[in-house]
Amino acid sequence: MKSFQRPAGLLSLLMLAAITLQSQADVGGSNLVFYGITALALLIFFFMIVSVADNFMVIESKAKGIDTDETNMGLFPRLSDLFSAKKADYLENEHVVTLKKGYDIPLEGEPAGSVDDTLNVTRFAVNPPDYYGLMPIPKMEVEVGDAVKAGDVIFFDKKLNRIKFAAPVSGEVIAINRGLKRSIAEVVILADKEQTSRKYDLPAADASRADLVDFLLDSGAWPVFRQRPYNVVADPDVVPRDIFVSTFSTAPLAADLKLSIAGREEEFQTGIDVLNRLTDGLVYLGLDGREPAPTAFSAVANAEKRYFRGAHPAGNVGVQIHHIHPAGPGENTVWTVDVNGVLLLGELFKNGRYSTERVIALSGAPLSQPRHVRTHAGANLGELLQDDSLTDNVRILSGDVLTGTQKGSEGFLEFYRSQVTVLEEGNEAEIFGWLLPLKPRASISPTIPTLSKFEATTNTHGEKRAFVVNNDYEQVMPMDIYTQQLMKSIMVNDFESMEGLGIYELVEEDVALAEFACVSKQPLQQILREGLNTMREQG
């Protein structure tokens, strides 16, 4: 289809049609329309000749080897050159994947680009529901009143009892909050002023993989590994095919992960080296190809670097895995680690301490000062947002607006998140809102132009309907997956179709943008999770 990059083919078709029509027409020379069409046809004809000649020139230059660097040798710019941003120079010799599909929701309230180190948060929590694949009631190792150090075991799962879950900070356990059916929702720790970490005997640099795994399980650092398919905490008995790390987030109002490793580059490198010891395969790093200059992540060694250029969800590790080497069950099981997870491993192996220190974004239009702050995993949301007096009519999310979990100001940041978003609730009816949208709202549809960044609300903008889906999913899904059909096969429990259509490659965050764009307001993330659960039970 290379010849269709230039519009000559289409134009010549049009011209042929016009000329044959005119040859049959019995119109007199006085007809103005006839002259107009003739003039147009002539123009098109000459354009076509020039364009064909131009194409030949390009082909010839390639054949002769003059066009070595794939630059455009023709007279006319290629359509793709006109409409896409230019690739930065440093990407010249890198693996770059350009994703055309996707959408960056232009929200107001982006976090400022510096890190606030002064924020004082006193309460942190370990939340068992953050980790997929566990039993609802874990076995507790601590009681209210116990003093813990960072890295001390708080609980472990009754089935996967080798995996230990550790305290993010040192301090005193002040509450164990229970959720539905007496499941444990939060283990709250009041942090010490001076943080202390549990002491570790690090395994030798040439220790076997089994020893390393045992150490990691015992250290409490194991939960940073998540396993695809299903996005569950990695099974210690499974050796992953490859390990994937996404070093950027394209989610709306997401934290800038470059800030996370500023000054901690060596720890990050150590973390990557540890990952290499855990797999026979490769460690892939997904990097942001939209950066104008190389970042600290570009300097990381011992990992396969892949650059991704494109709108959200290009930063999702699932999308990157899909384009690098799709995951699947059995021997295609892979692990994913986020940047904070790599840093945690780096701290552990370089400095011998357990540290969940991370830079998170406090973002959203209702905040007076959206910014990045340095804190630890599981920080209390109310304390994170202490500088703002928020009204009751806001929603506080752990995570981004597409995949986040709704929490009150008494909630805690989830383990795998590095973002808190505050959103205005949209609980106000809008007259003819569906017909004449006066309040700004995001849309991938050209019928609702979004000219500038705007304050989003949580209004549903419509009611749930059966799937009447034109092409919204395919506009935002940069994966070779038929989302709608997959969802339908999940709903009817058609295992074969689910497998064939790629359910193993997806987790909730990958279909979140499709759910956002869905005209029928179908809960795709929920449907997908049900499908994944069914597959997991069956498998």
Binding site: D273, N427, E430, R441, G462, N470, A512
Partner: protein, 453 residues
């Protein structure tokens, strides 16, 4: 606005009366975008919902409604040999058109929406928007003189058996508007076919055509117009103009090719659409405006439309190739019909209308991008063959679209199967790449991995 909202909320009936509540809910959600907020899943959603999607199709049809209204009147008076100029007797043409089209529009919506409301109440969900578009399309594809009872029966058939039986909007297999049309076509074949049905207010006695006598509504407007000193409808019942047959361009083309068409109509007349036909199908430029509007706003998928245009050209060129190179008066009509230039075929009949508004229905069309190309192409390709080669009736879009509606899931099935295979292949190819990279890495002693410990 808050006050208005509270005022409307006062009338909300309780849930004990299901039909009343469903009806209230339908009107309430029409007036207001409700104050519901997201729960779980995404926290912000796209501003596009089904109502907005559907209403854009209705918007794209508005020009056709205006033109169709005028054209009903225009064709009527041209048949009677009066007011041949476009703007002559403009008020009479518009009023005549309105008197014809308004009852059709009202009956369509009362019957169709009535069924929707009853089913929504019975099934206990809110009224779905599907009929917004079907209800706007159905009047445009009916002949202007359609008896209202038939119209009502056809809509009941289409909505109950074509949609609600399958579970409502989003579940139907066939295009609802076309089902209504095809029901009329097959249930009342003798009266719907023939030449005179495409012009309103013409009756046939023996072999002679007369204008029908005007009714009380026309009399009422005559009273106003005569007061204003404008021309009036009069009594009606006069004979048609000399040589008028009421034949549509396609009807003529089927008998004698393009030469027969040009005896009655000019090319530009056919293009602009002041010819007899269904109410909204005739004006090519206005349909093209709607087509571009729907493609640019991505309400309709351009793949179906462009695929259809290609399929049409291919099919028509193929028929051109089959037709004998030299046409004489003795050439049978079917060959004359085949020999018509594709672009002329395109502006005659309702191809553009069908491919823009009927084929692109997201529910009954193919789901996959590849499938949509095939689906659009085959609709046009099969449609032109039905139009030209079927001896009974010189048009084929409703049949070809319904046929392809039936086969759309099959097309999609093969696209999905191809996807499944492609993904397996791709994974295998990537596994090979990975092996090469690993071999390279093992040679690098700096990287500690389980394989070189």
């Amino acid at each position: 606005m808050k006050a208005l909202h509270d005022f409307v909320k006062k009338f909300e009936p309780d849930h004990s009366n299901k039909l009343a509540h469903t009806t209230y809910d339908a009107f309430y959600t029409f007036l207001f975008q409700p104050d519901t907020v997201t729960k779980g899943g995404v926290h912000i959603t796209d501003g596009m919902d089904l109502k907005r999607l559907m209403v854009h199709v209705v918007l794209a049809l508005q020009l056709l409604y205006v033109f169709g209204t005028w054209n009903i009147g225009h064709q009527h008076f041209v048949a009677l040999g009066q007011y041949n100029g476009f703007l002559e007797g403009f008020h009479l043409k518009i009023i005549y058109g309105l008197i014809q089209i308004l009852p059709i529009f009202v009956v369509t919506h009362v019957v169709g929406l009535g069924i929707e409301f009853i089913y929504a109440a019975r099934k206990g969900h809110s009224v779905e928007e599907g009929f917004l578009v079907s209800g706007a399309l159905i009047p445009l594809i009916m002949p202007p003189d359609i008896p209202l009872v038939w119209l009502a029966v056809s809509i009941i058939f289409a909505v109950v058996l074509g949609k609600e039986a399958f579970g409502g909007t989003g579940m139907n297999i066939w295009n609802v508007a076309l089902l209504a049309r095809v029901f009329i076509f097959f249930a009342y074949p003798t009266t719907i076919s023939g030449d005179e049905v495409w012009v309103a207010g013409i009756v046939k006695e023996g072999t002679e055509f007369y204008g029908a006598t005007y009714g009380w509504a026309h009399g009422f407007f005559d009273w106003i117009f005569s007061g204003l000193g404008w021309s009036t409808f009069g009594e009606g019942g006069m004979a048609v103009a000399d040589g008028w047959t009421g034949a549509t361009p396609l009807g003529l083309a089927a008998k004698g090719g393009w030469d027969a068409v040009t005896q009655y109509y000019t090319e530009s007349q056919i293009f602009w659409g002041n010819i007899p036909g269904s109410i909204g199908e005739s004006s090519a430029p206005l349909i093209i405006i709607g087509m571009i509007f729907l493609m640019v706003t991505r309400i309709a998928d351009y793949r179906v439309i462009v695929g259809g245009l290609i399929g049409f050209m291919v099919g028509a060129l193929m028929l051109n190739a089959i037709a004998p190179p030299v046409l004489t008066d003795d050439t049978p009509g079917i060959f004359q019909f085949m020999a018509i230039h594709p672009l002329r075929q395109m502006i005659m009949g309702s191809f553009l209308f069908a491919i823009t508004f009927m084929a692109t229905d997201p529910v009954s069309s193919a789901d996959t991008p590849t499938g949509k190309w095939i689906y659009g192409f085959l609709i046009a390709f099969i449609g032109i063959i039905i139009r030209v080669l079927n001896p009974a009736y010189p048009e084929g879009w409703m049949l070809s679209i319904l046929l392809m509606n039936t086969f759309a899931p099959l097309i999609d099935h093969y696209v999905y199967q191809a996807n499944v295979k492609r993904r397996v292949k791709r994974t295998a190819a990537m596994a090979k790449q990975r092996d090469e990279l690993i071999t390279k890495r093992i040679e690098n002693p700096e990287i500690v991995s389980p394989s070189n410990v």
